[in-house]
Amino acid sequence: MRRTFSHNVRAVLCVAIVAAWVVLGLTASPVPAATVIKIGIDLPISGADASIGIPTENGAILAIEQANAKHVAGPNVVFQPYVLDDAVQGKHDPAQGAQNVKTFIADPAVLAMIGPFNSNVAVAEIPLTNDAGLVQIAPSTTNDALTRPPNAVKLRSAHPGTNTFFRVCTVDSRQGAAGAQFARKLGFKRAFIIDDNETYGKGLADVFDAQFKALGGTVVDHEHITANQQDFKALLTKARSMNPDVVFYGGTTSTGGGLVRKQMADVGMKNVAYMGGDGIGDEEFIKVAGTMANGTYYSIAAPEATRLPSAQAFVAAYKKRFNSDVGPYSANAYAAAEIEIAAIVKALKADGGKMPTRAQVLKNVAETRNFDTPIGKIGFDKYGDTTNPILSLYEVKDEKKVFVNQISLKTT
């Protein structure tokens, strides 16, 4: 008796559950759910890279939010930022970047991605996006070999004929050359070069090395440091014995750019100038180096958004939304997101509102020409690089960055 009773209870329960499920399903189905299209954002947003990574992330998020507010893809399509952090133990990590890209690829709603921030992370990611046909636009990765042959072809191992990697910043052959010109213009004759042995840092330092010599300067020595190094006093003592008037650092603050500058004070090199690329152009550098940050010159592979007439609306909207100032690469990330959203919208329209494929989005991004963004009209050349590269030069004074000059390197 007992057994039959419990059987009955079970049967009733099962029917009830199925009924409830059917009813709920029926009531839910008439309202068409909005189509969610995700844009992957892979940047270092914790640790020593966060001070430049987070403002970059914010730029992309702002573009996505504005697109949603304007319903650029119709009322039923919602863009959603899908943010993953590629910093491990406080700094950008290629293996983590690759892991994040695999996560994006596995999610069919991700049609495009923004990032990474660092060139060595890009080296780990490009083969994956190439294989999956997922388009990525990087706001700030400047190493030449990421897009230029012959090395870029090796990264596209799955589909050598397809490029999925684009960038809205310029390349290190330009940045390093501009840095060398800047250094010569400031009157420096003897440079001691240090790099962090990473894709970006070494690439930039090598260009600076060659260009500084070509412009009549002397490179007294070119040294490489190792990961997680804390003591640079021996290295800087060596530098001091060679009597340079500038120390050039190829690398990021997170790989030692700030510590090297700080320890220059300890070995009696307080009055020797310091120079670097966009890797030390972050707030973190000033925080780590403290008062020694003064007398540092660096370049950013992007325009200074606050000075561009075309970027004023963006700068104001950013300030309103995040209650902070734009970072060096906020506008670039914003432009990258705008380009991707436009490419997705174009694909949606061409296909009568059906969910576009990654291949369509990739094709539309690659065809971007004269696209209006806060940082100017952007198009991509045959390598996937911007046709409108702009460099800005800065100096650190009173522990604040001061804009010095802007160099436009427009191509067609």
């Binding site: 640790g47 190792t226 997680n228 804390q230 003592t237 060596k238 510590l259 070995v267």
Partner: protein, 303 residues
């Protein structure tokens, strides 16, 4: 020649920090034959504790004279005490329950404790380098073309004081004698009425306190600290302990100073990126010809 002497000064300062950490490695190894991989992180913890104490005192600007000595004394004692307590806690919670387990279990536990400490520090101060208050006078003297900073003097002086005190403690006190007896033969020592648990806890207390002192001086010396510093510093200090002869106190000091000097001279005369290669090549060479390290006695049946 100037450069040679300058690098000598750099190498000795760096070596002083390595030596202080290496002492903790060698003491723990001597007494329970454990390579305590968490020791490097206790060193970093020392700099974090110092930071907290300095923040508590509320240091502003450079200090001189008596206030400077007072602040150093208070901070270094607090950092040493707190690290000592952490050391005892680690031993009690993680190592003592496994004392008779296979040695591999103990080793993996040590690596686990290291990860725990790193992550706790990351949660505490975040994953970026943390600036140290610059209360220490930025003074320096130039002797015959060699620039010697006050910071470098304090590192070396503090390291030597600590080592002398330790040497005195181990060889001239009753507790030190108990420690040596336990290291020699744990069971026999127990039969002689020595409280083994207390002695081992004491070893962890002293070793961790020395790491705490090293953490404090590194904070002054570099002006920054970072939760992950203990990883590479710990590895170098462990190398120093092995180079000098693990289990041997004088050997740890010698090894620490030697590695500091090798790093500085390699950077000067070869290249910075080769300094680790040279350090470890020297280690391999020494171990080939003297398997028990420079000052180590040959210890059969240890690991």
């Amino acid at each position: 020649m100037d450069v040679f002497l300058q690098q000598l000064v750099n190498g000795l300062s760096l070596g002083g920090i390595y030596a202080l950490i290496a002492l903790g490695y060698t003491m723990v190894y001597g007494i329970i034959e454990l390579v305590n991989f968490a020791h490097g992180d206790v060193y970093t913890l020392g700099s974090f504790f110092s930071l907290a104490v300095l923040g508590f005192i509320g240091i502003q600007g450079e200090l001189h004279g008596a206030p400077l000595v007072g602040v150093i004394a208070v901070t270094v004692s607090a950092a040493m005490l707190l690290c000592g307590i952490v050391g005892i806690a680690i031993e009690r919670l993680a190592y003592r329950p496994l004392r008779n387990a296979p040695r591999l279990a103990l080793l993996i536990t040590a690596i686990g404790v290291s990860f725990i400490l790193e992550n706790v520090m990351q949660l505490w101060k975040g994953p970026s380098p943390v600036p140290f208050p610059s209360f220490f006078p930025d003074a320096s003297v130039t002797v015959g073309g060699v620039l010697i900073e006050a910071k470098q003097v304090i590192v070396v002086v503090l390291a030597i004081i600590m080592m002398a005190a330790l040497q005195f403690f181990v060889y001239n006190t009753k507790l030190g004698k108990a420690m040596r007896a336990t290291a020699q033969d744990r069971e026999a020592a127990q039969l002689m009425g020595i409280d083994i648990n207390m002695t081992i806890a004491l070893t962890f207390l002293i070793g961790s306190a020395l790491a705490g002192a090293a953490g404090f001086v590194s904070g002054i010396y570099y002006g920054t600290t970072w939760f992950f510093n203990g990883f590479s510093a710990g590895l170098k200090a462990f190398t120093a302990a092995v180079l000098g002869g693990i289990g041997n106190l004088a050997g740890a000091m010698l090894g620490g100073f030697l590695i500091g000097l090798i790093e500085a001279f390699t950077t000067q005369f070869i290249s910075d990126q080769w300094s680790n290669v040279v350090v470890f090549s020297v280690l391999v060479l020494v171990l080939v010809f003297r398997p028990s390290g420079l000052l180590g006695e040959s210890l059969p049946n240890k690991v």
